[in-house]
């Protein structure tokens, strides 16, 4: 068995309240992401799945306080890195696609400029060259007329188009080894959701990316992912291969989740 690319090891923490106390939200969360696999982390809103992922990049909400655990990436504990070392991980090694791509891009810069800026940050080179790579990346995610689109602002993109651009930025411009996808299809039309998922799977296969898909949409998971982590109320309930989870769920909560999505057998 190969070693995990990223290992979350008993991560615990909570939100700092106004009274100085900590309201626990993560309780010894542990799961592994195997190289080259697409792992899904499923659970309801508030189950802690996004918070865990944001903690990997150190971009969790400021009120979150860690009370224990480690996040191992390539043998190093990300939580022990200083700000400068963390910056060399962000984008370059681990990148992320956010839920609402139009809000996740800066409204006052063109989409191309934002991508080019990130390209130069990680790969250097001239502004001209960076912009060419940005346009190329937009073309790879099947955005028509990439030259024209690159000169447009995020508000001129549709939700689906913006998500494609976001994916181009996170996967193709950054060229990370791990890509986190935080509810990438939530809020999009159903047909567009399918297109976006197809694109994600395709890119991951082509680039040999390890990916972590955070979602509450089990239908997406069944068709695309290799492994599944089920989370509930800040705890990992069950982990296993996709087949295992969907055909023989061990935990009652997993069965309820599947039943609610009309995917598994009724409980």
């Amino acid at each position: 068995m190969t070693a995990a690319l990223l290992s979350i090891d008993r991560l615990s923490g909570g939100f700092l309240g106004a009274d100085g106390g900590i309201a626990p939200v993560l309780d010894a969360v542990s799961y592994d992401l195997m190289p080259g696999q697409l792992t899904a982390v499923v659970g309801e809103t508030g189950s802690g799945k996004s918070l865990t992922a944001l903690s990997v990049l150190g971009i969790q909400p400021p009120a979150f306080r860690r009370t224990g655990g480690r996040i191992l990436f390539g043998g190093r504990d990300l939580l022990s890195l200083d700000a400068a070392a963390m910056r060399t991980i962000r984008g370059a090694r681990i990148s992320i696609v956010f839920q609402d791509a139009r809000a996740a891009m800066n409204p006052v810069f063109t989409v191309g400029r934002q991508m080019a800026d990130v390209f130069r940050l990680h790969h250097g080179g001239s502004a001209r060259h960076a912009m060419d790579r940005a346009i190329e990346a937009l073309g790879r995610v099947r955005i028509p007329e990439p030259e024209r689109r690159a000169r447009q602002y995020p508000h001129e993109f549709s939700g689906g188009m913006a998500q494609r651009a976001m994916i181009a930025l996170a996967a193709l411009i950054c060229q990370p080894s791990l890509l986190i996808l935080d509810e990438p299809t939530t809020g999009l039309d159903v047909t567009i959701q399918a297109d976006i998922m197809t694109l994600i799977v395709e890119l991951c296969r082509d680039q040999g990316l390890t990916a972590c898909l955070i979602t509450h949409d089990l239908g997406v998971v069944a068709e695309t992912c290799d492994a599944v982590v089920v989370m509930h109320a800040g705890r990992v309930v069950e982990t296993g291969s996709t087949e295992q989870i969907f055909t023989a769920p061990a935990e009652p909560y997993t069965r309820r989740l599947l039943a609610a999505s009309q995917l598994g057998e009724p409980v």
């Binding site: 309240g17 939200v25 309801e44 508030g46 189950s47 159903v190 239908g219």
Partner: protein, 298 residues
């Protein structure tokens, strides 16, 4: 791919028990520091103003209770001015003027401006256009200049200043209340209130106004600070009240020449008095907007 219901029922249950919810409610009940300090300072000012009606160390209006230009010391804590009046006594009495004028003027402006604003916002149409255009013209007019002009015409006096100050404040309240009410005029709850048989004015004032009042109240504090500063400015120009009145701006003007010869205290302390009062109003304004504007809440 099948369209799937995202776990809606579970989400709702989770949201209700989410730790964030309890934290937020607790925060709202807690008085913020700026609110406490602001209220505390204003409390002191009110106390001093009331106390000064009955008692001050010396007669604030009498000249020659001590020698001229005594620096702050044992007998006269804040010193004396050119006429030998006690500065502390004058400063205390000044609270009656500056605080009193500010509070009354703001109350009048708040009441009238909000009523007009609700009317303009709810009814719209000609009323709205006329009120708004009028307001625009007044606002293109430099505020202090306008106050100076009117005060000069109607003459000095506490009542006159209050009238002028309220008049200057009305346009801002009108615009704020109008914008808030207009934005909510067609919301479902207003519709519902109309449906069950409320009259127009009832919907406007009993249903819409209470929901619109947050920004107006936050502005009230800012406006109070502004009124206090303009009142002092008028006093400084000698336009507001008769020259011997211990209004703070007046007192600063009276010490202006002495500053050039080194007797700093006559102008200095009234400035601190103004700082405390307007500062308290700004702190309150911050606290109120934190409370009423959900985006600024953490």
């Amino acid at each position: 791919m099948k369209p799937l219901a995202p776990l809606e029922g579970l989400e709702l249950a989770e949201a209700a028990s989410a730790p964030g919810a309890t934290i937020r409610t607790r925060r709202r009940l807690r008085l913020s520091w700026s609110m406490r300090i602001g209220l505390g300072i204003l409390g002191v000012y009110v106390t001093v103003a009331m106390l000064s009606v009955f008692w001050t160390p010396y007669d604030p209006l009498a000249p020659g209770v001590g020698d001229s230009f005594l620096p702050p010391g044992q007998d006269f804590w804040l010193g004396t001015d050119r006429l030998g009046s006690d500065l502390l006594s004058r400063l205390m009495t000044g609270a009656q003027y500056d605080l009193g004028i500010t509070l009354v003027a703001v109350a009048v402006a708040l009441t009238l401006g909000t009523i007009l604003g609700v009317i303009a916002g709810y009814y719209g149409g000609v009323v709205d256009v006329v009120l708004l255009r009028g307001v625009e013209m007044f606002q293109a007019f430099p505020g202090l200049l306008f106050a100076m002009l009117i005060v000069k015409a109607v003459g000095p006096g506490v009542l006159n200043i209050i009238v002028v100050m309220s008049f200057i404040g009305i346009p801002d309240y009108l615009r704020l209340a109008r914008a808030e009410v207009q934005a909510r005029r067609n919301w479902p709850y207003a519709e519902a209130a109309r449906m069950v048989g409320n009259r127009a004015w009832q919907v406007a004032f009993l249903h819409l106004l209470p929901n619109s009042i947050g920004p107006v109240l936050a502005f009230t504090s800012i406006n109070a600070a502004f009124v206090a500063l303009i009142t002092a400015s008028l006093g400084f120009l000698g336009l507001g009240l008769s020259p011997n009145t211990p209004e703070w701006g007046n007192m600063i003007a009276r010490g202006q020449d002495a500053v050039m010869t080194g007797e700093w205290w006559i102008s200095f302390f009234p400035g601190l008095a103004i700082l405390g009062m307007t500062g308290a109003f700004y702190l309150l304004g911050d606290a109120i907007s934190d409370l009423t504007d959900p985006r600024r809440r953490r």
